[in-house]
C-alpha cells in the first residue's frame, strides 16, 4: 500500500503506508528520541501533529501495555524511515503496525526522513497531509494548505478528561527511578490539559494523592477541594488558545503552591503576565541540555513543545528565571519570587527520556511541606 506525505509548501514524498488507511492532517514535526516511540504516540501533547521520528528503525520492540502515557495514541499521523518487520522484546504484546491500525492511525515508511527533518528545521514546522487514498502531489499540497493550523486552536478540549478522577499508580515495577523518603500524603489538584500518566506515577512516588480535573475547572471548584497544591499539566497546541485555563491559574496564584510542566508552564507564564510565541520547529527529543541557573548543573531533558514563554516578557521583579535551554537559550524554567510557584518547560517525568530532573517533584513536595 502506497502512502503520500505533502506539506503546505509543496514538499512531497511517496512511501509505503502502514497502520490504518485514509487521510489525515496535522502539523508535521520531528522527534529526535532514539527510543520511546510508544510514549510519544500516546502523549496527548502530540494532538494535532503528524510526528516524524529521526531514528530510522522504529517498531523494533513493539508495543506493550505498560508504556502507554494515556489510553490511546494521539498523534494525527506517524512518519518513519523503516518499520521493523518483527518485534523483539520480552515485554512486547503487539506490533506497531497492528497497534496503529487498531487505533485508526495512518503511518508512512520508506521516505527520506532526513530530508524532511532538514526541511522542517530550515523552514519551520509545516501543515501537512498524510494519505493512503490520494497520490496526487498537487492536490495533496492544496489540501495541506487548506487544512487548519494549530495556531489559535483550542486542542485542550480534545484531550482533557471529561470528569475528574484519581489515579494512584506506582511507577512500573523494576523500572523505578528517583527516590522519595516516605512522607504523609499531600493532596493536590492537577488541571488536565493532556496529562501524561508518568506524571501521576511520579506524584504517587513522592507521596502526593492527585485528583485530576478537567481543564475547564474553575478556580473556585479547585479551591473547593482544599488542595495542598496545584499542578498544571502538559498539553498540546497553542497556549494562547485557552484563556480560560490562564484565567483559572491567575485566580489561584498566591492561594496555593503551584507546579507546572510544559503547557502548564506556559499557562503560568501567561497568567503571570508574560507572552508566548511559536518556535520555528520546536523542541522534541530526549537530549536537550538545560541548565539550572542556581546550581549551574546540566540536566539532559525530555522535551516536547512547539511554543515557548518569551523570556523577556516576564516581569523579573516578580519572576525569576531558573532554567535555560543551552541549545537556543530559550526559557526552560521559572519561579515566583514571592509565592511558592515554579514551572519547567521540559518533562521531568520523562517517559520517554532521561531521568535527570527528578528533583523537581521533590522540590514541589518540600515546597508544600
Amino acid at each position: 500500500m502506497k502512502a503520500y506525505l505533502a506539506l503546505e509548501d509543496g514538499l512531497f514524498f511517496e512511501g509505503e503506508g502502514f497502520g490504518a488507511q485514509g487521510e489525515t492532517f496535522g502539523e508535521v514535526v520531528f522527534n529526535t528520541s532514539l527510543t520511546g516511540y510508544q510514549e510519544i504516540l500516546t502523549d496527548p501533547s502530540y494532538k494535532g501533529q503528524i510526528v516524524a521520528m529521526t531514528y530510522p528503525h522504529i517498531g523494533n520492540y513493539g508495543i506493550n501495555a505498560e508504556d502507554e502515557e494515556s489510553d490511546r495514541p494521539w498523534v494525527e499521523g506517524f512518519i518513519v524511515k523503516e518499520l521493523s518487520p518483527v518485534v523483539s522484546n520480552y515485554r512486547s504484546a503487539e506490533s506497531l503496525h497492528d497497534y496503529l491500525k487498531r487505533h485508526g492511525k495512518i503511518a508512512i515508511q520508506g521516505i527520506d526522513t532526513r530530508k524532511l527533518v532538514k526541511h522542517l528545521r530550515d523552514h519551520g514546522a509545516k501543515k501537512g497531509v498524510l494519505s493512503t487514498i490520494d497520490g496526487d502531489a498537487k492536490r495533496l499540497v492544496e489540501k495541506a494548505q487548506k487544512s487548519s493550523s494549530i495556531v489559535g486552536v483550542d486542542l485542550i478540549k480534545e484531550v482533557t478528561c471529561k470528569k475528574s478522577y484519581s489515579l494512584d499508580e506506582a511507577l512500573l515495577k523494576g523500572f523505578e527511578w528517583g527516590s522519595a523518603p516516605s512522607k504523609a500524603k499531600k493532596k493536590i489538584i492537577a488541571i488536565d490539559c493532556g496529562i501524561k500518566r508518568n506524571i501521576l506515577r511520579k506524584f504517587n512516588q513522592h507521596d502526593f494523592s492527585v485528583t485530576v480535573v478537567p481543564a475547564s475547572a474553575s478556580a473556585a471548584e479547585i479551591l473547593n477541594h482544599k488542595p495542598d497544591g496545584l499542578f498544571l499539566s502538559n498539553g498540546p497546541g497553542d497556549p494562547d488558545a485557552v484563556p480560560y485555563v490562564v484565567e483559572t491559574v491567575r485566580n489561584l496564584i498566591g492561594k496555593v503552591p503551584i507546579f507546572g510542566i510544559c503547557f502548564g508552564h506556559q499557562m503560568l507564564g501567561l497568567a503571570l503576565g508574560g507572552t508566548t510565541s511559536k518556535l520555528k520547529f520546536g523542541h522534541r527529543g530526549g537530549n536537550h541540555p538545560v541548565m539550572d541557573l542556581k546550581t549551574q548543573k546540566i540536566e539532559i531533558t525530555s522535551q516536547n513543545h512547539g511554543f515557548v514563554v518569551d523570556l523577556d516578557s516576564l516581569d523579573q521583579s516578580q519572576v525569576e528565571i531558573t532554567h535555560v535551554n543551552l541549545n537556543d537559550k530559550t526559557l526552560e524554567g521559572m519561579r515566583h519570587k514571592k509565592h511558592p510557584i515554579f514551572s519547567v518547560q521540559y518533562h521531568p517525568e520523562n517517559s520517554p527520556g532521561p531521568h535527570d530532573s527528578d528533583y523537581l517533584f521533590q522540590r514541589f513536595r518540600e515546597m508544600i511541606g
Binding site: 520511546g36 510508544q38 529521526t54 508504556d67 518483527v86 532526513r114 523494576g174 537530549n287 546540566i298 527520556g353
Partner: protein, 1116 residues
C-alpha cells in the same frame, strides 16, 4: 569552571605497540589529547614506544619520548621533565596499568605529579574486580553471581557454588587476556591457572555465565560538576560470550524500550559516581536477559577505549578530545560542540542512521589456531560502516573488511560444506537445493551455535535452507530483530535473482537493492553480468548514492563539519566546492601486514596537502584511526574502499587526482580500476606499479640496472610450480603476487611442503600468478625507503635487519643505520635503489628489499608505495617522508622541499616487532616469510646495544640480566651458538640445555646443565618453564608445526611470559646488548626532539655507523 592554571606541564602515557585488544584507537585518542592540551597552552610530555603513530610526531607534543612503557623509563622521564600532572586515561590498558604501577611505587608522590582524568582510587575501584563488585552491590546494581579466587582450589570452590558453566576473568589484563568460559572442572583448571598468571594481582573472578544474554555498552562522560551524558549506546549482535572486540556491534541499541534504556542510563550514571570518575569518558557494559529483562552490570573502563573511538566516529562526538578538556578543569557546557558550533557539548548525540562495526580477524596467519570466538579477544582490527538502515550498514561493513567479500554473500566467495560457490550457477544451484540438503542442516546446526567470524553468513545459508528465525535464534542467540533484518536481505536477494535476464525488472529493483546495501559486484554476480555493466545501468537509471552528514543531532541543527556516508535516498548533502581537490585513500581495517603505519602516512598526506591549499578528501572505513577524525581532512567519507564506493565519490567530487600509494595494498589494488574509469592516480603511475609487481617486467628492469635477483619463476598451477622449483633447486620461497604482509608466503625445503604451500598461495593470489624464488640462506636482509619526484631521488634510510632474509621484513627487527654492512655495500645499495626509482619514475615513496649474501646484492622486491617502515624512518631521520611524498605527488619538487640529500644519524634506532602469540595458545611462534606481528616499537639510543636493549624492553620481551637461559638450536646452528653461549656464561647466566647440546657446550668448556626433553620423563624442560626457573629461551626452530616438541616449548614459554628468542642473530644481539649494559652506564632517556636537534648540529656528518660493535658477520 575555567581550565586549571596551576598546571603547566602534563605527561600523557601512550599505549605502545599495536596488539590484539589495543589497536590504533589510542593513537586517535592520544593525538586528540595532545592537541587539546597544547592548544590550551600546556607543555605536553609524551611517552609512547610506538613510532608508527601521529602522537609521536615531533610536532604533537613538546617533549616526545619514544621509550619503553615500563616504570623504569617512566620514572626517568618524570625525573627529567618534572611534569605537574599525568593524564593516564588516553593510552588504553597499558597506559592505565603503567600509571597504577607508578602510583603504587610512589613515583608520582616523589615527584609531585597529580593524576588527572582518573584518580588512582577510581582506577582501582573500576579495575579491581572485587572492589568493583562491592561498589556495585553498594549502589544496588545487579551483577552476575561471582566469587574471587586467588588459587586453583578457590576457583573450584567458587564454580561449584555458582554452577557450571562459569566464566573466568582475570583482574588487570587487557583485551580479556586469559579469560574464558569453562563448562567443566578440567577446563576451569586450565583457564584459571592461566588467568592467575596473567593477572597483575594474581586474582581471578569466577562468574555466573550469562551466555546468550543480550550485550550492551554505554559510552558516557562525566565532568567535575557531576554533569553526565551518554554519547552512544551500542548493542552487540553477538550475544554474551563473545568478547565485545570480537562481536559485530551496532549503534544505537536496537531492541530496548525507553524504560529499559533509561534504566541502563541510570545505572551507568550511578556506576560513574560510585567509581568516582570525575572527569572524562568511560564505558559501562551490561547484559540483559532476553527472557526476563534482568539487567546486570558486566564491567566498566574508566578511560577512553576502543568502543569510545567507535562511538566518536559513530556519532561525530569527539570523546577523547573532550575528555582531555574535562581533565584540565572545563565542564561540558563550557565546550562547544565542534559540529554544530552553536550548541554545547553537554548533550546526548542523536543519530539518524545505523552504524555497524565488524571485527577483522587474521586466523589464516596462524596455523593451528582455534578460531572459535570467546571471552578473549582475537580480532586484529575492525571496519565500521554507516547506512540509513542496519541492512545497508551491515553489507557495507562486510565489503569494508578487506576479506574480498562484497556484502553478505552472493559475491563468489560463499563457502558452504567446504566448497566455494564461485560462479552464479553454483550459487543458484545451492539456493535451489539448500532446503532439501540434510547435510547442510546438520552442519548449520553446529556452525550456528559456535561463534566464529563468519557466523552471520551461516545465518544467511540457514535462512536459504528454510530454517526458521526461531530455530536460528535458539542456536545462535542472535536477537530475532537482527535475524529478521538478515531475512529481509535474503528475501530481497531472491527477488533480485528473479529479475535475472529481465532488464525491466532489474531496473525496477535496482534502487531497493542498493538501499539494502547490495554492491555492484553482488548484483553482477546474481545477474551474470560484469561489475561495470551494473555501474552503467545505475548511471543510466540515475541510481547513484547520495551523501548524508554525520552531525551528532539527527539534523536538528545545522552541521558545519563535512563528515559523510553514502546511502540511496533523495537528498544529497555533499556540497562540492570549486577548490582543487585531492582524494586520499586510506587503508581500511587494521590487519596483520597493514596497520597503523599506513594510516600514519595518509594523515600526513592530508596535513601536507592542506598546507598547500588543496581541499583534502579522506576515504576510509577504520574507526580506530586518526585519518577518520573529521579534523584531519577537509572532507571525510566514511566508506568502504572498493572501486564502486571510491568511484562514486570521485564522480561527485571530481578531484584533481587520487593518492593510492600511502594506504598500503588496499588502495594500490584500486589504482588500475580507477585509472580505467578516468580517475587520475597521483604519483607513481599505475603502469609503474604494475611493472614492479609483474615478475617478467620486473626481471627485465633489474637486468637493465644490473641487479641480481634470486633465481625465480612464476607459475599458474601446482605442476608448473613444481617444475620451476626443481629447476631453481630447494629451498625456495613461494608467494602470491599483489598481496601484503607475506600472506601465504612460505619457504619450502622439499616438494611435499612446496605442493602444500603453492596451493595456498594460489588461493591467496586470486588469479594472479604465484611467485617462486630461490631462498638465500643466511643472507642479510636490507630494507630501503626512498622518496622521489620523478627527477630527484633521495633515500630515507637503509635499514639492516637483525633476522636473516626469509623472515618477513615486517617481523624482523631492523636497524638504522646498518650495523654490519660494509660501507661499499651500503653505497651500492643506495645507488641501485635510485636507479630503480628512476626507471619506474617514482613520484612519491618506494620501498626496496635486498638480501646480501657473500657480498653479493640481490634485489628481493620493489614496492612503489609507502612502506610499513615509513614512520619509523621518518621518526629516526627527523624528516616527515609521507608528508613530503604527498607534496611531491601534488607537483612540488624535492628541491623546493629542500630534501635532496640523505640524512646521516649519529644515533641508532631499532624497530622491533610485536606478536600476538600470547592470544593464540598452542600456536607455534616461529618467524617465517608470512608476517605475524601486529605492531612495532622503536628503541633509540646513542649506540646499537642500548637501542636494541630498549627495543626489547619496549616490545615487552625484556631481556633478563641473570638467571637460567635454556638453549636449544637446530643442527645447522650448533656451531654458531657456541660463542653466544659462551657470552651468556661470561655474563653470569646459567645455561640449561638438552642432553646433546649440553654435552657439546661442555666440550667447548662452557658449563651447561642438561635437562630432559618432553618425552624423556620428568622433571623436564616444560617443568622448568612452568616453575619459571628459566628466564630466557633461545630456540632456533628446525621445523615448523605445533606437533613438534620444540614448538611446544616455545609456545609454553610464551604462555608463561618468558622471552623466547628464535634466531641466532637475535640471540647474538641480546648478548651484545647485555654486555654493553653490564660494562657501561645505565640507560638514559632522551626525547625525539633532542635526537633531532643532534641532526641539526651536525648537518653533514659522515656516513658511518656509530657503534664499534660488529654484531654478526656470518658471511665470514
Amino acid at each position: 569552571m575555567p581550565k586549571r592554571t596551576d598546571l603547566k606541564k602534563i605527561l600523557i602515557i601512550g599505549s605502545g605497540p599495536i596488539i590484539i585488544g589495543q589497536g590504533c584507537e589510542f593513537d586517535y585518542s592520544g593525538t586528540q589529547a595532545c592537541k587539546v592540551l597544547r592548544e590550551e597552552g600546556y607543555e605536553v610530555v609524551l611517552i609512547n614506544s610506538n613510532p608508527a603513530t601521529i602522537m609521536t610526531d615531533p610536532e604533537t607534543a613538546a617533549h616526545t619520548y619514544i621509550e619503553p612503557l615500563t616504570i623504569e623509563y617512566l620514572e626517568k622521564i618524570i625525573e627529567k621533565e618534572r611534569p605537574d600532572a599525568c593524564l593516564p586515561t588516553m593510552g588504553g590498558q597499558t597506559g592505565l596499568n603503567l600509571a597504577v604501577t607508578a602510583y603504587e611505587k610512589g613515583v608520582f608522590k616523589k615527584y609531585g605529579v597529580e593524576l588527572i582524568g582518573a584518580k588512582y582510587e577510581a582506577i582501582k575501584k573500576a579495575e579491581n574486580r572485587e572492589e568493583f563488585k562491592q561498589a556495585m552491590i553498594k549502589i544496588g546494581l545487579d551483577l552476575p553471581e561471582s566469587s574471587f579466587a586467588y588459587s586453583l582450589e578457590e576457583a573450584f570452590q567458587a564454580a561449584e557454588k555458582i554452577g557450571y558453566p562459569v566464566i573466568v576473568r582475570p583482574s588487570f589484563t587487557l583485551g580479556g587476556s586469559g579469560s574464558g568460559i569453562c563448562f567443566n572442572r578440567d577446563e576451569l583448571a586450565q583457564t584459571a591457572r592461566k588467568g592467575l598468571d596473567y593477572s597483575l594481582t594474581h586474582e581471578i573472578l569466577v562468574e555466573e555465565s550469562v551466555l546468550g544474554w543480550k550485550e550492551y555498552e554505554l559510552e558516557v562522560m562525566r565532568d567535575c560538576k557531576d554533569n553526565f551524558v551518554v554519547i552512544c549506546s551500542i548493542e552487540n549482535v553477538d550475544a554474551m560470550g563473545v568478547h565485545t572486540g570480537d562481536s559485530i556491534t551496532v549503534a544505537p541499541a536496537q531492541t530496548l524500550t525507553d524504560k529499559e534504556y533509561q534504566r541502563m542510563r541510570d545505572a551507568a550514571r550511578k556506576v560513574m559516581s560510585e567509581v568516582g570518575v570525575e572527569t572524562g569518558g568511560s564505558n559501562v557494559q551490561f547484559a540483559v536477559d532476553p527472557k526476563t529483562g534482568r539487567m546486570v552490570v558486566i564491567e566498566m573502563n574508566p578511560r577512553v577505549s576502543r568502543s569510545s573511538a567507535l562511538a566518536s566516529k559513530a556519532t561525530g562526538f569527539p570523546i577523547a578530545k573532550f575528555a582531555a578538556k574535562l581533565a584540565i578543569g572545563y565542564s561540558l557546557d563550557e565546550i562547544p560542540n565542534d559540529i554544530t558550533k552553536y550548541t554545547p557539548a553537554s548533550f546526548e548525540p542523536s543519530i539518524d542512521y545505523c552504524v555497524v562495526k565488524i571485527p577483522r580477524f587474521a586466523f589464516e596467519k596462524f596455523e593451528g589456531v582455534d578460531s572459535t570466538l570467546g571471552t578473549q579477544m582475537k580480532s586484529v582490527g575492525e571496519a565500521m560502516a554507516i547506512g540509513r538502515t542496519f541492512k545497508e550498514a551491515l553489507q557495507k561493513g562486510f565489503r569494508s573488511l578487506e576479506t574480498k567479500r562484497f556484502g553478505l554473500g552472493a559475491d563468489g566467495r560463499d563457502e558452504v560444506l567446504g566448497k566455494t560457490l564461485r560462479t552464479r550457477e553454483q550459487y543458484l544451484d545451492f539456493i535451489h537445493t539448500a532446503p532439501q540438503n540434510e547435510e547442510l542442516r546438520r552442519v548449520l546446526d553446529k556452525s550456528l551455535s559456535i561463534p566464529k567470524a563468519d557466523r552471520l553468513f551461516h545465518v544467511k545459508y540457514a535462512l536459504l535452507a528454510g530454517i526458521s528465525v526461531e530455530q536460528i535464534y535458539k542456536l545462535s542467540h542472535f536477537d530475532p530483530w537482527f535475524l529478521a533484518q538478515i531475512k529481509q536481505i535474503v528475501d530481497l536477494e531472491k527477488e533480485i535473482i528473479e529479475a535475472s535476464g529481465d532488464e525491466c525488472k532489474q531496473t525496477l529493483i535496482l534502487r531497493k537493492a542498493k538501499s539494502y546495501g547490495f554492491s555492484d559486484v553482488q548484483l553482477a554476480f546474481l545477474w551474470g553480468k560484469k561489475e561495470a555493466e551494473i555501474r552503467n545501468l545505475r548511471y543510466q537509471e540515475k541510481v547513484e548514492p547520495v551523501y548524508k552528514l554525520v552531525d551528532t543531532c539527527a539534523a536538528e541543527f545545522k552541521a558545519y563539519t563535512p563528515y559523510f556516508y553514502s546511502t540511496y535516498e533523495e537528498e544529497n548533502e555533499d556540497i562540492v566546492s570549486d577548490r582543487k581537490k585531492i582524494v586520499i585513500l586510506g587503508g581500511g581495517p587494521n590487519r596483520i601486514g597493514q596497520g597503523i603505519e599506513f594510516d600514519y602516512c595518509c594523515v600526513h598526506a592530508a596535513f601536507a596537502l592542506r598546507e598547500l591549499g588543496f581541499e583534502t578528501i579522506m576515504v576510509n572505513s577504520n574507526p580506530e584511526t586518526v585519518s577518520t577524525d573529521y579534523d584531519t581532512s577537509d572532507k571525510l567519507f566514511f566508506e568502504p574502499l572498493t572501486l564502486e564506493d571510491v568511484l562514486a565519490i570521485c564522480r561527485q567530487e571530481k578531484p584533481m587526482g587520487v593518492i593510492v600509494q600511502l594506504g598500503g595494498q588496499t588502495p594500490l589494488n584500486l589504482a588500475r580500476g580507477l585509472e580505467e574509469n578516468g580517475v587520475k592516480v597521483l604519483g607513481t603511475s599505475p603502469h609503474a606499479i604494475h611493472l614492479a609487481e609483474d615478475r617478467k617486467e620486473f626481471k627485465k628492469l633489474l637486468e637493465k640496472i644490473g641487479l641480481k635477483q634470486p633465481e625465480n619463476g612464476t607459475a599458474l598451477d601446482v605442476e608448473e610450480g613444481c617444475k620451476i622449483a626443481e629447476k631453481i633447486g630447494y629451498p625456495v620461497v613461494v608467494r602470491p603476487s599483489y598481496v601484503l604482509g607475506g600472506r601465504a608466503m612460505e619457504i619450502a625445503y622439499d616438494e611435499i611442503f612446496f605442493r602444500k604451500y603453492v596451493s595456498q598461495a594460489m588461493e591467496a593470489s586470486d588469479e594472479h600468478p604465484v611467485l617462486i624464488d630461490k631462498y638465500l640462506e643466511n643472507a642479510i636482509e636490507v630494507d630501503v625507503d626512498l622518496i622521489g619526484d620523478g627527477k630527484t631521488y633521495v633515500v630515507g634510510a637503509v635499514m639492516q635487519h637483525i633476522e636473516e632474509a626469509g623472515i618477513h621484513s615486517g617481523d624482523s627487527a631492523s636497524v638504522i643505520p646498518p650495523f654490519s654492512l660494509k660501507k661499499e655495500m651500503i653505497d651500492e645499495i643506495i645507488i641501485k635503489t635510485k636507479q630503480i626509482a628512476k626507471e619506474l619514475k617514482v613520484i612519491g615513496l618506494m620501498n626496496v628489499q635486498y638480501a646480501v649474501q657473500d657480498d653479493v646484492i640481490y634485489c628481493l622486491e620493489v614496492n612503489p608505495r609507502a612502506s610499513r617502515t615509513a614512520p619509523f624512518v621518518s621518526k629516526t631521520i627527523g624528516v616527515p617522508l609521507a608528508k613530503l611524498a604527498a607534496k611531491v605527488m601534488a607537483g612540488m619538487t624535492l628541491e623546493e622541499l629542500q630534501f635532496t640529500e640523505e640524512v646521516q644519524v649519529s644515533y641508532v634506532a631499532v624497530k622491533e616487532s610485536v606478536f600476538p602469540f600470547v592470544k593464540f595458545p598452542g600456536v607455534d611462534i616461529i618467524l617465517s616469510p608470512e608476517m605475524k606481528s601486529t605492531g612495532e616499537v622503536m628503541g633509540i639510543d646513542m649506540d646499537f646495544p642500548r637501542a636494541f636493549y630498549k627495543s626489547q624492553d619496549a616490545a615487552l620481551s625484556h631481556i633478563p640480566t641473570e638467571g637460567k637461559v635454556f638453549i636449544s638450536v637446530k643442527r645447522q646452528d650448533k656451531e654458531r651458538i657456541i660463542p653466544i653461549a659462551k657470552k651468556f656464561h661470561e655474563l653470569g647466566f646459567q645455561i640449561v640445555a638438552t642432553e646433546g647440546t649440553a654435552q657439546s657446550l661442555v666440550q667447548q668448556g662452557i658449563p651447561a646443565q642438561s635437562v630432559k626433553k618432553l618425552a624423556e620423563g620428568r622433571p623436564n624442560i616444560s617443568d622448568l618453564i612452568r616453575n619459571q626457573e628459566i628466564k630466557l629461551v633461545v630456540n632456533t626452530p628446525s621445523g615448523k608445526g605445533s606437533v613438534l616438541d620444540e614448538a611446544k616449548i616455545r609456545s609454553l614459554a610464551v604462555s608463561f611470559n618468558i622471552p623466547c628468542i628464535t634466531t641466532i642473530n637475535a640471540a647474538q644481539a641480546a648478548t651484545i646488548a647485555l654486555d654493553a649494559l653490564k660494562g657501561g652506564k645505565g640507560l638514559e632517556v632522551k626525547s625525539i626532539q633532542e635526537y633531532h636537534a643532534l641532526l641539526k648540529q651536525k648537518p653533514t656528518s659522515k656516513i658511518q655507523t656509530p657503534n664499534k660493535h660488529q654484531l654478526i658477520n656470518h658471511q665470514t
